[in-house]
Amino acid sequence: MKFTTSAEPGAAAPLNRRQFLRRSALAASALAAPWIVPGRALGLNGATPASERIVLGGIGLGPRGTHDLRWMLPEKDIQFVAVCDAQASRRAAAKSLVDQHYDNRDCATFRDLRELLAQRADLDAVLIATGDRWHALASIWAMRAGKDVYSEKPSSMTITEGRAVLETARRYGRVYQTGTQRLSEDHFTFANELARTGRLGKIFAVRAHIASDLAQMSHAWLAPEPEPGRDEVDWDEWLGPCPWRPYNNIYIRGGWRGYYDFHTSCIGEWGAHTFAQCQAAIGAGDTSGIQYKYVNNATGDGMVITFANGIRMVLQREGWHGTCGVKFEGTEGWVSVADGYRLPEVSSPVLLQDYSRLVKDYLARSQRPMSHVRDFFDCIRSRRLPVASAEVMHHSMSTVHAANICMWLKRDLRYDPAEERFPDDPEANRLRARGMRAPWVI
């Protein structure tokens, strides 16, 4: 297939998957290679036949991406066939992981995701686990190229990016899921259902865990180092839409967090999860916070965000066991849960008696599995909206972005979720978007 040099890969793939498979088969028979077709390719022994599998590519496969890869690979009805990373060592490691799993050497590698999208018409979906700066743009390009997308959190760097992801998913009819996997875990589901079904009385406040670093971001540069060769580390590609800065190896080893250009602060780090969880629990998945009360500290701890239904969300750094905690407080009780809880903490043990039933009811009502990646693959087949759809994520991430802007401007803010703007506040409105470095633009 022709290599494309345009910034954006062609929206309409020249070959569809079936044609691609057919041509590959022809090519194979023309070569008359003595192929041995493994039984699982034909769907023997209970495996999904190759033609029915969801064909996947991975983009940006560092520690989190590798975790996702290990999580997805055991699913029987999918197959990873390509990986893409700006760093040679990560490309090689991801390829080796995939090849080991399938016991072959077939996984293709790409340095530039534009080449991956342009050349692999056979991909049904992609896993995007780059750093935060790339999530939205990579998702948008992938969806325009006809792929369904599982993107790590946060789904966007700005309110404008989130809106663009949502509009792209709608316009191109793509299934999109963000990796906010606690929306598909039983403890958190139980807490959500306690709130939703009124067991806690009328909810008046929810508490959302934020990470332990700072809300105030660094604009400094690390000391410049000589750039490695492009094949080893493609620094330009790594930066993507972000403002250029000189290379330093600390960034590419995960040290990009805390920099304004690359990160959405401690609020985005875990708020990307916990805000979505809180908003799901209080039925605010389709809106964002309307008032943001500035707190005079460096972290945002204690900030109060108010929703249109009157419920307040308090940002809280301490007092949890494990990561990504939430607490829902109602007139008749409360529930609190984070990753480190053997069982959710509740105001009265009576509430726990309904644990199994509430989770089971949720499963029956939503017809979703308690597995975030499985939900994504099921939705690829059914074309339903996944639990962490672009819509859900855009609205909860808008709350994250507005909270950050509140901290950065060091004053209270009002936000209009319908208009997606800060009324009469041009300064805040300018921070709804960031400049993007060509050709990495939406």
Binding site: N16, G146, R171, Y172, G173, R174, V175, S382, R383, R384
Partner: protein, 448 residues
């Protein structure tokens, strides 16, 4: 043409061709206010026929395709006597919120029928809803319940019940006993109506709100094979050729023979021949509807020849004393052992009375008289607050029966139907499929 001469003309047509009488007498002013949801092919066909049979004012139009909507508004302004341009809406809820409509036509793709029809009866309108009434069985139950709860007259677009030559066949041949005991009815469609190409998925046109179009259905990438008009080829939006074509002939057989629910339904088939296309409905399928000592057997093929080229879509009634073939272009009756007494009847066109039909794009000219009669029947029922000939309950039975055929094909077993409970007997897997999950944020309507 002024209104009086228009009325006179229609009146003459009514006397000549219909027993429904003339609307000049039946429907005195004020003009009924009509709204249309879904301004595509049959939406416009039905709306322009309504203008021909009754003094209505087209007040509101709704479509998620802006271009289609604007075109329909221009045509409506040109065609209706007031020459007023109707209000246009992209959201049916906003249109119905006005609560200023007497009549609403629901002419969307199938996956939008239930929500729009229920909202329309809630708003106080009498409704004409296209067939099949729903994409799943429980939608149909909810629609029937809503029509009854809000006491609205709801006619379903199964207009074989209002086709003059078919009414004649029913009365003169079947009811008069000329066929004797009928034990088997074959119903069939051999039209090559499935897209034979494999167009790529593309960005939807700017004028189309793809998210809203998709609504409660599964979200697919846009493909020009879907819109306009091609959605029938995709299971996401309907029930394939069984939901599109079988329903007409099954409904006709039920109406002619006075049948209700079958005892059981079985079906098999799939995509057996025409595999290289994105359309995903079956290209070959048979279904048996078991009515005890009468079997109704469906067959469709979107490839190959029709056994009788004069009847590519129709029904054959086998009686002890003779055979009746009936279709949209006419009927043929062959008494056993008496070739001389065979009867052949052609469809009656009304192009002299309605010369504007001649050049109307997309209009099935042989069906236009049936549509007019079907609409007149609806309006008469509205005046009398009675049940129209294709009342929503009849539409529900025919629709659900066809959907059961598809469920049987999918499950690979026959389904025994409990008409009282509205459930499949002893088959929880099948009963779970009586409801298709809706895509959020749309919520599946429930029977009240």
């Amino acid at each position: 043409m002024n209104r009086r001469s228009f009325l006179r003309q229609i009146g003459a047509a009514g006397v000549a061709l219909s027993t429904a009488g003339t609307f000049a007498a039946d429907f005195p002013t004020p003009r009924k206010r009509v709204g249309l949801i879904g301004c595509g092919w049959y939406g416009k066909c039905d709306l322009w026929r309504l203008l021909q049979v009754a003094p209505v004012e087209i007040v509101s139009l709704c479509d998620v395709d802006r271009r289609m909507l604007e075109e329909a508004a221009e045509m409506a302004a040109a065609r209706q006597t007031s020459k007023k341009r109707p209000r246009t809406y992209s959201d049916y809820r906003e249109m119905l919120q006005e609560k200023d409509l007497d009549l609403v036509l629901v002419e969307t793709p199938d996956h939008w029928h239930a929500l729009t029809m229920i909202e329309a009866v809630k708003s106080g309108a009498d409704v004409f809803v296209q067939k099949p009434i729903s994409v799943d069985v429980l939608e149909g139950q909810a629609m029937l319940a809503a029509a009854r709860q809000h006491r609205r007259v709801v006619q379903v677009g199964t207009q074989r019940r209002s086709t003059p030559h078919l009414i004649e066949a029913r009365d003169d041949l079947i009811r008069s006993g000329k066929l004797g005991k009928i034990g088997l009815v074959e119903i069939y469609c051999y039209y090559h109506m499935r897209a034979g190409e494999n167009a790529p998925d593309i960005t939807p046109p700017d004028s189309l709100d793809w998210e809203f179009y998709t609504g409660p259905a599964p979200l697919r990438p846009f493909n020009r094979l879907i819109h306009p008009r091609g959605w029938r080829g995709f299971t996401e939006y309907g029930n394939g050729i069984v939901g599109d074509m079988c329903i007409h002939m099954l409904d006709m057989a039920r109406w002619m023979l006075g049948l209700g629910w079958p005892k059981s339904v079985s079906s098999s088939g799939g995509i057996l021949v025409a595999k290289n296309t994105r359309t995903n409905i079956s290209d070959t399928q048979t279904a048996t509807f078991d009515y005890g000592d009468l079997q109704v057997v469906w067959q469709h093929r979107t490839w190959g020849d029709a056994p009788d080229p004069r009847y590519p879509w129709g029904a054959t009634f086998y009686g002890e004393k003779g055979t009746l073939k009936a279709g949209v272009f006419g009927y043929d009756f062959a008494p056993r052992g008496d070739a001389k007494s065979a009867v052949h009847r052609e469809v009656v066109y009304e192009l002299e009375q309605y010369p504007e039909d001649k050049d109307e794009k997309g209009l099935e000219k042989h069906v236009a008289p049936a549509i007019r009669r079907h609409l007149r029947d609806w309006l008469t029922a509205i005046e009398k607050r009675s049940r129209p000939v294709a009342d929503i309950e009849e539409g529900y039975i025919s629709t659900a029966t066809c959907i059961l055929a598809n469920l049987s094909m999918r499950l690979g077993r026959s389904l025994n139907w409990d008409a009282t409970a509205g459930r499949v007997i002893g088959d929880s897997e099948a009963n779970a499929l009586l409801l298709r999950p809706y895509r959020a944020p749309w919520a599946h309507p429930a029977a009240i």
